[in-house]
């Protein structure tokens, strides 16, 4: 069993539906999508125009699902989809796109180009054209349970630290609670303060929750590499434990694509609606705020701005919640120019940060974010995705900018009222 061009083409065929057909039928080559994509604006290379990245999918749609395309195919007039072509496109589909969806917001004819690129990845991966770094991360995710190779003992160790530091208990494998918290490997390894923050807030709010030792990983490499079958397998693990533990709601942590994977793609991947809810941690915290169960004792004094993680904000629907939460913990908050659902991508999502080959371009496109930050000149940047956080820290360091990246959850925990 191995990848092949036939599998790739078949995968692309499976991805064509009425949305894809409507989108490709409507594209008028206006180029507006390029101006919305930081991979074009910061490199000036027109082949990084978003709609161009979806060319493999377009060729299959045209030659297989349109009358004229089929006739053309019979006459040998179609553009080929072969290994050489897909190899050329690999860099465009994986290194130069985070599936941030900004292009989908500006296309005048309404194309969801990010969706089309996501679908294109299905064909690329099945044809063996996914980048090595992503294949490695996905393999680890499937075999070990985490793309970074984090196993339960590592998490248990972090949990121990949190319990020691806070004096609170972090419930593990508890049945019948309201919430089951997922965690991204990035958080576990680099930002374990997040676990502490959640523990504190939930304790104060009187929320019943747990972490599963069997399936705790939020990051879904299947979504990033673009293989629905693998993504489904990873989601199923979460579904299994959520049902086993009979939780009411599964919480997606501060990680971008994890939210997309479990909240919006999840049920469609496994083919069944969930019998539990899925919420982002910010949605849960905002509910607590509305209920009066999240009170602040103090506020941040520094000037803050918010970086919207694309998969949470624009592609996720969690736009207002972070702002409601920042409102209770800050009096000095300013939005970036182009904010909310139109905020610019950090440049590292969608598998780009797992792809070493893309390191250089990833840093290059940070300049778009830098321009936004320069316009605001904040003392600190708040966000809600650890992948964004790590990459932004990289970028800021590259440019010698001394601006700390804060997690919104952690910041709320920091100022949590004692009673």
């Amino acid at each position: 069993m191995s990848a092949s061009i036939e599998k790739g083409i078949n995968a692309l065929k499976r991805q064509v539906d009425s949305t894809v057909a409507a989108f490709f039928s409507s594209c008028v080559h206006c180029g507006l999508c390029a101006e919305a994509c930081l991979f074009y604006t910061e490199t000036g290379d027109p082949k990084r125009t978003p709609i161009n990245k979806a060319e493999p999918l377009r060729r299959i749609w045209k030659s297989e699902f349109t009358l004229m395309g089929r006739l053309g195919k019979m006459l040998g007039l179609t553009k080929k989809v072969d290994d050489k072509f897909l190899e050329e496109w690999q860099e465009l589909v994986y290194d130069s796109c985070t599936m941030c969806g900004r292009c989908s917001m500006v296309c005048p004819v309404g194309n969801d180009i990010a969706l089309m690129i996501r679908k294109t990845r299905e064909g690329m991966a099945a044809a063996g054209q996914a980048p090595e770094g992503l294949i490695g991360a996905t393999t680890r995710a499937v075999t070990i349970g985490s793309p970074m190779g984090v196993k339960w003992p590592a998490l248990r160790a972090q949990i121990r630290h949190v319990e020691e530091d806070t004096g609170l208990k972090v419930p593990v494998d508890v049945e019948g609670v309201e919430y089951m918290l997922l965690l991204s490997s990035m958080e576990i390894m680099n930002f374990p303060e997040f676990i502490e923050a959640v523990a504190k807030i939930f304790d104060k709010a009187g929320v019943t929750w747990t972490i599963s030792s069997e399936a705790f990983e939020a990051t879904n490499s299947g979504i990033q590499i673009g293989v629905s079958d693998i993504a489904a397998e990873l989601v199923q693990r979460i579904v299994d434990v959520a049902e086993k533990l009979k939780v009411k709601t599964v919480i997606s942590p501060e990680c971008g694509h994890a939210y997309t994977a479990i909240r919006w793609d999840g049920p469609n991947l496994v083919g069944k609606a969930f019998n539990f809810k899925v919420r982002h941690i910010l949605e849960v915290l905002d509910e607590l705020r509305k209920d009066g169960r999240l009170k602040m004792a103090s506020k941040e004094s520094q000037k803050l701005t918010y970086h919207d993680p694309c998969q949470i904000s624009r592609r996720g629907g969690v736009v207002d919640e972070p702002r409601n939460l920042i409102d209770i913990v800050s009096d000095d908050f300013v939005e970036m120019p182009d904010t909310g659902k139109m905020n610019w991508c950090c440049g590292a999502g969608g598998g780009v940060s797992a792809n070493e080959r893309a390191d250089e371009i990833r840093l290059k496109v940070f300049e778009r974010k830098k321009a936004q930050i320069d316009a605001v000149k904040p003392d600190a940047i708040i966000s809600a995705c650890s992948n964004c956080r790590i990459h932004l820290e990289d970028g800021l360091e590259e440019y010698n900018m001394d601006i700390p990246l804060l997690s919104l959850t952690e910041t709320l925990a920091e100022h949590l009222a004692d009673d």
């Binding site: 069993m1 191995s2 990848a3 092949s4 599998k7 078949n10 995968a11 065929k13 499976r14 064509v16 539906d17 297989e64 699902f65 009358l67 991966a125 099945a126 044809a127 063996g128 996914a130 294949i135 996905t138 393999t139 499937v142 075999t143 590499i225 293989v227 079958d229 693998i230």
Partner: protein
């Protein structure tokens, strides 16, 4: 044959026009008025009026043979619609009309004899005027004295100095030529290719246009400037639309929608009632009819485009130029219905293809990620 001079007018046959006019009691002033009118019609400068006068005065009244084929006699009627002695009728005094079915006194073999005599006497110099189309389908469709139109035309054209085709039938085939053209009617220019031809179309043409062309030929002995289909530019150089007095209403967007609505009563543009003014070249809007009394549009009827070839098949007199001539909505409905069926089939094929690709899909595992 030569003895049958009674068919000619009571004028010395070799006399000049000047002599003819004075003998008829036409004053010099009337004559000069005619020349001035002619000059202005031809857009010639006033300085040419004396030249026209001198030329016509001294013109040896040339022989004119008028052949009428498949026609309704409307062109002759138009020319002779003189309630009083009008200027147009003067033209008859400057020519020697040796043969004309309607106007001649003779009939039968005497008439044909007069024609042949005039042809022989003036061979190479006579003017041939033709109205009516020529049937090629069967010579029997239209004959004169047993001679088919085609034969008579080719025969008579041999000695003609020039041919003036009068009326849309002679110039472009006219109503006999209209769909389905059962007689195989054609125009003069379709048959005669070796003689200069002036086309004076119209159904009928405006009288002064006919006489103006004749006058030009008599004065200058040459054809006036003709457009790409042989019409004198002096009279057919502008479209009705560009000279129509109702044009401002067209531009403002004020149209009569029916023949008796407010707009019609107010004299608004008749475009919506099918006016062919925009695609018709003639002098109606400026010269008008009946000595400048009126013209169809002024009387409230849209122009039917009668000076253009194939105007009878131009899509209906009451259908506006921008409207399709066929029932497009019906066509569209049938096309949509057929396409819906085809679309359903093609759509089903699309889904079939997807189902197949779903069926042959084997779950992708991490082993399948590498080639």
């Amino acid at each position: 044959m030569k003895k049958d001079l009674s068919i000619k007018k009571a004028v010395p046959e070799k006399g000049t026009l000047g002599e003819a006019l004075s003998s008829q009691g036409v004053s010099r002033r009337s004559f000069m008025k005619f020349c001035a009118t002619t000059a202005s019609m031809m857009a010639l400068p006033p300085s040419m009026i004396p030249m026209i006068a001198r030329a016509m005065e001294n013109a040896r009244r040339p022989s004119v043979i008028w052949l009428s084929f498949q026609e309704c006699t409307g062109c002759t009627e138009s020319l002779t619609r003189a309630h009083t002695s009008t200027i147009e009728s003067l033209i008859f005094d400057s020519i020697s009309l040796d043969y004309h079915h309607t106007l001649q006194a003779a009939a039968g073999s005497a008439a044909e004899a007069a024609r042949e005599a005039a042809m022989e006497e003036n061979f190479g110099n006579y003017l041939l005027v033709v109205d009516g189309s020529i049937p090629l389908g069967n010579p029997g469709y239209s004959t004169i004295a047993g001679i088919s139109n085609l034969d008579m035309l080719t025969e008579t054209a041999k000695g003609a100095a020039a041919i003036i085709a009068v009326g849309t039938c002679a110039t472009y085939g006219g109503i006999p030529h209209a769909n389905p053209n059962p007689t195989g009617a054609v125009s003069v220019k379709d048959i005669i290719t070796d003689k200069p031809i002036i086309n004076v179309p119209g159904c009928p043409p405006i009288p002064v246009v006919i006489t103006g062309v004749l006058a030009h030929y008599l004065t200058f002995g040459s054809l006036p400037d003709l457009d790409h289909i042989g019409r004198p530019k002096a009279f057919y150089g502008q479209s009705i639309h560009d000279r129509c007095y109702r044009r401002p209403f067209y531009d403002k967007g004020q149209f009569a929608e029916t023949f008796d609505d407010e707009g019609a009563k107010k004299g608004w543009c008749l475009y919506k009632l099918g006016c062919k003014g925009p695609t018709t070249y003639n002098a109606c809007a400026t010269t008008k009819w009946n000595n400048g009394t009126s013209f169809p549009i002024e009387s409230g009827h849209p122009c039917i485009g009668c000076s253009e070839p194939d105007f009878w098949d131009g899509g209906g007199f009451y259908k506006a130029l921008s409207m399709p001539t066929e029932n497009l909505s019906q066509t569209a409905v049938y096309a949509a219905a057929g396409a819906a069926a085809a679309g359903a089939v093609i759509g089903a094929m699309n889904r079939g293809k997807k189902n197949t690709s779903n069926k042959i899909h084997v779950k992708t595992t991490i082993e399948d990620l590498n080639k």
